[in-house]
Point group: C2
Chain length 204, copies 2
Amino acid sequence: MRDAYSYPPSMRRLVNELSKLPSIGMKSAVRLAYALIEPSNSSAEQLAEAISAARTALRYCEECFSLTESTVCSVCTDESRNRAVVCVVEKPSDIISIERSGDFNGLYHVLHGLWSPMRGVEPSSVRINELSTRLEKLGCVEEVILATSTTVEGDATAMYIANMLKGADIRVTRLAQGLPMGGELEYADELTLSHALAGRQSID
Amino acid sequence: MRDAYSYPPSMRRLVNELSKLPSIGMKSAVRLAYALIEPSNSSAEQLAEAISAARTALRYCEECFSLTESTVCSVCTDESRNRAVVCVVEKPSDIISIERSGDFNGLYHVLHGLWSPMRGVEPSSVRINELSTRLEKLGCVEEVILATSTTVEGDATAMYIANMLKGADIRVTRLAQGLPMGGELEYADELTLSHALAGRQSID
């Protein structure tokens, strides 16, 4: 039996590296590899450079652990932001979502994960201890908004932090749960409806 | 109105470069970017290197235009392959598919595209002229198998090549069209069934 022709080593290596990315299977990896080796595709070199540059330049903010190219991020250094409110999120991209709403002017704290006994993630392995250290350091915090996801893990993490902050003179809040905008009652699940009912508000 | 926090420049650049890849939208680009900048992800550097290495090492075979790291690919230099049969395919990955079947031992010719009047792709901009030059050079070719897709463009390209080779003493064939293996009649479209009927074969 003769050897079948297969891709040259550098192509196999590229496909292999691409297939390690999240949600990229073998077929997508091959398609991406072809796009990347296309001689007319000048942006492939740009991508290689962008990966290296980002890995060199980016770090986590020493204060809030969001992404930054400095020691401290632009939110933490922004004197116009309200230092009395800290919004706790799971990951840096959540900050972008909240900033897009335009309705928050406080500081952030990125946990980089959620407490998940099922997956063996302890509270100590996400940045919860760093949160209490930071609140002490800031001194003036009046409110901590827990903006973790409304999943089992997000809720558990929020409860854990709320317990931790009991006794401190800080108001602890959680993002409202209810129907999403444009959400039809017909398609809302029972749990969402329960929360929407429990959190119902008077119309003045 | 204050500036909302957004990603640092190197992150924005990385997301932007990733979103230029085929079938990678903005959300996927952000998810991939996070995976690539993750400090514990050592394979991100590997990917950046693999892209550069592949772009430097890979070229198209001077004979058949498949991918190779040499001047001529391993199929074209393989003395054990049958030089009397040339299989014409659209792209290098099609070679991998045919090789996987294990039933072909001839040479290949990669067109790098298909004739598509609708998208303004002329036969001269895919490697059809190179095919006739090559057949002349090889001299001994008895059969050309047209293995382009069974799409409008694949069929048109096959017809174009068949016409071009008229008069030359070469048998021109096309891959059989019919029901795929495991294909249920119920789900076969009319055109596939028409081809399957027209190409029906006696059972000896």
